[in-house]
């Protein structure tokens, strides 16, 4: 006889929601920003990521993945990595509360001792940010390298940036201004 279905109660500990220590100190939160229009698909970030976390270079054990589409080239390569959601699907989905926020760095991290390897978080994440570590047999995801992401250092093209959120906002606005300027030049020339 098959075992009776058990409804898993929503875990009491909602790991996704935490208050950043940095924010309390008045510091701006930083985020790992991806710029697909600059990604050449050189795999540097992936190789350095797995090297940092697993002491070997392995595309499948990298927390970040460059997904190439078409013939490859900028705009056709999309870096896929955890976006450290505020309300995180992975943390909500975790039945044992193994995913929690590091309050120093803002990263959602997997507690490998608690993780039971049910892979629900992998299923839950709509962005492909959580993967299953087939050697350690537990979930793996970007932990922002304790606030100093190695992938960003390895990306010379600027496809990955680690920026304070206000700085990112300014940069995006500046880019928008450039686009508009270009548009005006076309219209009014």
């Amino acid at each position: 006889m098959p075992p009776a279905l058990v409804t898993v109660p929503s875990p009491l500990f909602r790991g996704g929601k935490g208050v950043l220590v940095r924010k309390e100190k008045g510091e701006m939160e930083k985020a790992l920003i991806i710029n697909p229009d600059r990604c050449t698909g050189c795999h540097s970030c992936e190789l350095v990521c797995s090297l940092t976390h697993d002491e070997e270079c392995n595309l499948n054990l990298s927390r970040i993945g460059i997904m190439k589409t078409g013939g490859g080239g900028t705009n056709e390569n999309i870096p896929v990595v955890c976006q450290q959601c505020r309300d995180a699907f992975c943390a909500d989905a975790c039945v044992v509360g193994a995913i929690s926020r590091n309050e120093e760095t803002g990263a959602l991290v997997v507690n490998e001792n608690l993780c039971v390897g049910c892979k629900t978080c992998v299923i839950a994440c709509p962005l492909g940010g959580v993967l299953y570590h087939y050697i350690k047999a537990c979930s793996m995801k970007c932990d922002l390298c304790n606030g100093d992401p190695q992938c960003v250092k390895a990306c010379v093209y600027g496809a990955l940036e680690f920026l304070a959120l206000d700085e990112w906002g300014r940069k995006k606005r500046l880019k928008g201004a450039e686009n508009l300027t270009h548009l005006f030049q076309v219209i009014y020339r």
């Binding site: 050449t40 698909g41 050189c42 795999h43 540097s44 190789l47 350095v48 797995s50 090297l51 940092t52 697993d54 002491e55 070997e56 270079c57 392995n58 595309l59 499948n60 054990l61 997904m67 190439k68 589409t69 013939g71 490859g72 080239g73 900028t74 705009n75 056709e76 190695q150 250092k153 390895a154 010379v156 093209y157 600027g158």
Partner: protein
């Protein structure tokens, strides 16, 4: 001590018997020849019959994935192939970047050796331990782009696809393979060799990892190099323009010969038609880079307007290939250049080789050596129509285009009528640089002595790019790259002067070393922000074998000498290291006056001087001055006793 870098396996594939064999890599051998190009030389020496017909099933394809390929080390992308090329008959290497080597390495193989001939079209799928020979009947007859798309459709985009185009299937010699549509591999006819084996493609997906002996040490060095790159003055230019950053160098400083080496492409024309602004505005669509390479030298281009709007191509070392279409074929506009490139890339015709042959054919036509009877009633001119006409013929391997596409050696025999007088070639391969324009620097001289044929990259001495540096500026570069003191004395024999022939071997070894380990070179662009010590540090950190720069240099010299010995056994000697006749004629240019063959310092060189250069070169290499063959003493110094014995027993040396 933990070891890393090497995957530890050699993959042997026999297409005749459909036998796939995996053998462990002998680590002592790996230490001696390092890997990549070096191990290719060693395996070719042991396994390949030097007199084999290049298109026979017995010819073998050796693919070498160096120890640092697949690691996070900067520019760790180059993988090297070795075979007997059909266009030249030399046993020589070709290198490429692209994701193929990375995925073969991550599948767990350092070397792939392919021989035999499949009964029907096949492709090879490598995915970790799984290696299978698959039916390619649906792919046969498709061009490079379609083949890659179909393979990705079937197996997933995570595979790296090494494909041959339609020209390769028809055994055209002047062809190249493409990796993932953009990285070219095997100038001299790798596709023809694969075509003769009924091998349409190889695809690889690496689902394993590469162990690293000392991860922290590698990460530290990697960051240091990337940081140096970020601070480099050319950083932003390289990121935005890729190889097009060399435009001004081409248009203004050096230039490219045209009209079959009897003119120089005018600077003004270059700026009018091929400027970087026009490129950014109307041509560039995206940029691709080889694994971990900070210089994205692969261009994704798409024509935005006009007759050919929408034409899309992926081209490696884009700028060089623009130059060929611009100067040799004089197609007349950037759009036509890209249109022609697209056709060459799809069919797999080699832009470097075949444009030179077109240029030569036009001169033969103008001189009346070729007539409308040969061309099929078409007038040959330096224009887009002629280029496409001959390219289409080459793709079908018929008519005049078919004859030309066999390469200089065979085309000279088939055309006859004294056409060889106008062929600018060494060992059947076209040179790239004109020493009358560029002066006799490393790459120019390397074109003459390179065992592969007139192929320049092996002559890499970064600083040659700049033509106005004083002689002394070269010394720190050589010192940094571990060139011994006594050699420096010989190179800088008097103040304000260096002997290029004595400097060249150290540049060649340096590139051989890069191809051996798996480092991308791209001459100055990458080398500029590296130091010699980086390489010893990276090799040691990755593999766990502590080696100094001097030891690595010695291994590179060993590899290069073995490479030479391979070709000695295939029948090449000093008699084949010939300066093309046309270099001794003055070059009449429209905007730079008359240019003559001269050394780096502008002193004219005559035939005698050039022969002296050869002698100095052989002497510096420790090769026999009369024959250009490595001496027993040199071979023994490099621990190549078995090679010395073999050459002795076959009567090449005493």
């Amino acid at each position: 001590m933990k070891k890393g870098g090497y995957a530890g396996q050699i993959l042997y594939i026999d297409l005749s018997s459909e036998n796939v064999k995996k053998e462990p890599l002998d680590m002592e051998l790996a230490k001696k020849f390092l890997g990549g190009f070096g191990l290719n030389c060693k395996l070719a020496w042991d396994l390949l019959d030097p007199k084999v017909d290049p298109l026979a099933p017995e010819n073998m394809i050796f693919m070498g994935i160096g120890p640092i390929v697949g690691t996070a080390a900067p520019v760790s992308s180059k993988h090297s192939v070795m075979s007997k090329w059909p266009s030249t008959g030399t046993i020589s290497p070709g290198t490429t970047g692209g994701d193929f080597g990375l995925n073969v390495k991550l599948s767990g193989y350092d070397q792939v050796v392919i021989k035999g001939k499949a009964r029907k079209p096949v492709y090879i799928r490598i995915a970790g331990d799984e290696v299978e020979i698959c039916d390619a009947s649906g792919l046969w007859g498709r061009d490079n782009y379609v083949t890659a798309d179909m393979l990705w459709e079937k197996h997933g985009r995570n595979y790296a696809a090494l494909t041959i185009g339609t020209a390769g299937e028809r055994l055209v010699n002047t062809t190249i393979c493409l990796v993932d549509k953009y990285s070219s591999w095997g100038k001299g006819g790798l596709p023809a060799i694969m075509g003769s084996k009924n091998l349409k493609a190889l695809i690889a997906y690496g689902n394993k990892g590469v162990k690293i002996a000392d991860p922290a040490r590698l990460i530290k060095r990697t960051q240091m190099i990337f940081e140096r790159f970020r601070k480099h003055r050319d950083y932003q230019k390289l990121v935005d323009l890729g190889t097009m950053d060399g435009f001004a160098g081409w248009a203004d400083i050096h230039g490219m010969s045209m009209n079959n080496w009897s003119g120089r492409f005018p600077t003004q024309e270059a700026y009018r038609l091929y400027g970087t602004d026009y490129y950014l505005e109307n041509i560039k669509a995206g940029r691709c880079a080889d694994p971990t390479c900070p210089v994205g030298c692969k261009d994704h281009v798409k024509i935005k307007k006009g007759e050919y709007a929408g034409t899309e191509a992926w081209v490696s070392s884009f700028y060089g290939r623009v130059v060929h279409m611009a100067a040799r074929c004089q197609v007349g506009s950037y759009e036509k250049t890209v249109k022609a490139q697209e056709f060459f890339q799809r069919t797999g015709l080699c832009i470097h080789s075949y444009t030179a042959l077109i240029d030569w054919a036009v001169e033969l036509y103008e001189r009346g050596i070729l007539t409308k009877k040969d061309t099929g009633g078409v007038e040959l001119k330096h224009d887009f129509e002629t280029t496409m006409y001959l390219a289409e013929q080459a793709n079908r391997n018929e008519g005049l285009g078919g004859i030309l596409s066999k390469g200089y050696n065979q085309a000279i025999k088939e055309i006859g009528r004294g056409c060889e007088k106008y062929a600018v070639q060494v060992k059947g391969m076209e040179p790239l640089y004109d020493p009358r324009i560029n002066r006799m620097s490393g790459p120019e001289l390397n074109q003459v002595v390179n065992p592969r044929g007139a192929h320049a990259p092996q002559g890499c001495i970064t600083l040659y790019m700049s033509k106005d540096l004083p002689a002394e500026a070269f010394r720190p570069w050589l010192e940094d790259r571990g060139v011994p003191k006594d050699a420096l004395e010989r190179i800088f024999s008097r103040p304000g002067y260096f002997n290029i022939a004595r400097m060249l071997p150290y540049g060649e070894d340096w590139v051989a070393f890069m191809n051996t380990l798996g480092l991308g070179c791209l001459r100055g662009r990458v080398d500029n922000f590296f130091k010699g010590e980086d390489w010893a540090e990276i090799y040691s950190a990755v593999t766990g074998f502590e080696m100094s720069l001097e030891e690595l240099r010695q291994a590179a010299r060993r590899n290069y000498t073995l490479y030479k010995a391979l070709n000695v056994r295939a029948g090449f000697s000093r008699e084949d290291d010939i300066f093309p006749e046309r270099w001794f004629e003055p070059l009449q240019t429209s905007d730079r006056g008359t240019m003559v063959l001269s050394d780096y310092f502008g002193n004219p060189l005559d035939r005698e001087d050039c022969e002296k250069l050869l002698e100095d070169y052989y002497d510096e290499r420790g090769w026999d001055i009369k024959t250009g063959i490595p001496t027993v003493k040199t071979l023994k110094e490099l621990e190549l006793e078995d090679v010395a014995e073999d050459l002795k027993s076959k009567g090449f040396i005493k």
